[in-house]
Symmetry: C2
Subunit: 192 residues, 2 copies
């Protein structure tokens, strides 16, 4: 795939296509959305869409990146547990927003058979957020609130993975309670 050339795109058509993709994902499961359906809703030809994007997941990824999904700031009140709790609670809220959950699940599903989408999700959605959390954890390490012998990237994984586990494996609902549980277990440890 060659990257889309922005000069050759009509910005108006691009917006219409991105909006159409977001709309359709709100109306039906991502698996049921088609390139044809997006073209029809956007009022453009299917060829136009295929010239710019290789898949519906690529369109959705661009639509989400384009809109931004909420603020990227990580809170810093000086209390690392409180800050993690408030940021993780935002994630819980997002996972419980039917629209956001649909996008998120649809994209991650597509990533399982499309390495470009997988790389796009990591680069545009996950990494910027992980980096901010790492930065906050490093300050907490310097302040003596978090062990310095641990890699902050591993800590981020330990804290956020259980939220994705429930979202994607559908074992239990993602709830605000889960954040308290994760923080309790991971901060003090499970060893007796």
């Amino acid at each position: 795939m060659t990257p889309p050339n922005p000069d050759r795109r009509s910005e108006r058509a691009r917006r219409a296509i991105l909006d159409a993709a977001l709309e359709l994902c709100q109306e039906q499961p991502f698996a049921g959305v088609t390139m044809e359906g997006i073209a029809k809703r956007a009022g453009v030809g299917k060829q136009t869409i295929y010239r710019w994007w290789p898949s519906k997941a690529a369109i959705l990824l661009e639509a989400i990146t384009d809109r931004g999904t909420g603020t990227l700031d990580f809170p810093d009140t000086g209390d690392i547990v409180a800050d993690l709790r408030s940021q993780m609670s935002e994630v819980v809220r997002a996972f419980n927003d039917p629209m956001f959950a649909a996008y998120n699940r649809g994209l991650i599903a597509a990533a399982q058979s499309d390495p470009e989408i997988a790389a796009g999700i990591v680069k545009t959605i996950i990494e910027p957020r992980v980096d901010l959390c790492i930065e906050r954890l490093e300050k907490a390490q310097q302040a003596g609130a978090v062990r310095r012998d641990l890699d902050p990237r591993d800590i981020v994984e330990l804290l956020y993975a259980p939220l994705y586990y429930r979202l994607l494996l559908h074992t239990r609902p993602v709830t605000p309670d889960q954040v308290d549980t994760i923080l309790k277990l991971s901060f003090t440890g499970i060893e007796a």
Copy 2:
């Protein structure tokens, strides 16, 4: 969907279909496998398949359940950390087996838009394994190796979620090292 009636199935055709699904998933991404392709490979009509299963994911789920994916025993040497390490290392090996990873990713992807598949994965693949780990953790709690004030189900989530996080979000490879990291962080805690 009505559940398939085993009496009306030819066991030979059923096996052929399950084998065909497994074979095709080894040869191509799950997203590219079709009901038509499975029917052709199994040498049966498409109608036959649709009479018994509503989707390719349902076929794959039955194929995997039918074969069993490895032993279900949870080790018990008396050393909970060693036992978790050896069981979690099995999961890492499975996640790095291209065939198993393909099934697993394909099924979980399908689960994002198919609640029946999601429920099937939890019931037939995840829950039996979680239950065995819970049983082992309860023994460790009784033996005084793991805190008794924690719900073993939450502990299982904390330990295994980071493996699924890397598998499904494609952030980093799932490695044996990751098991050591998870055990270190979760047993002693991240608090300074």
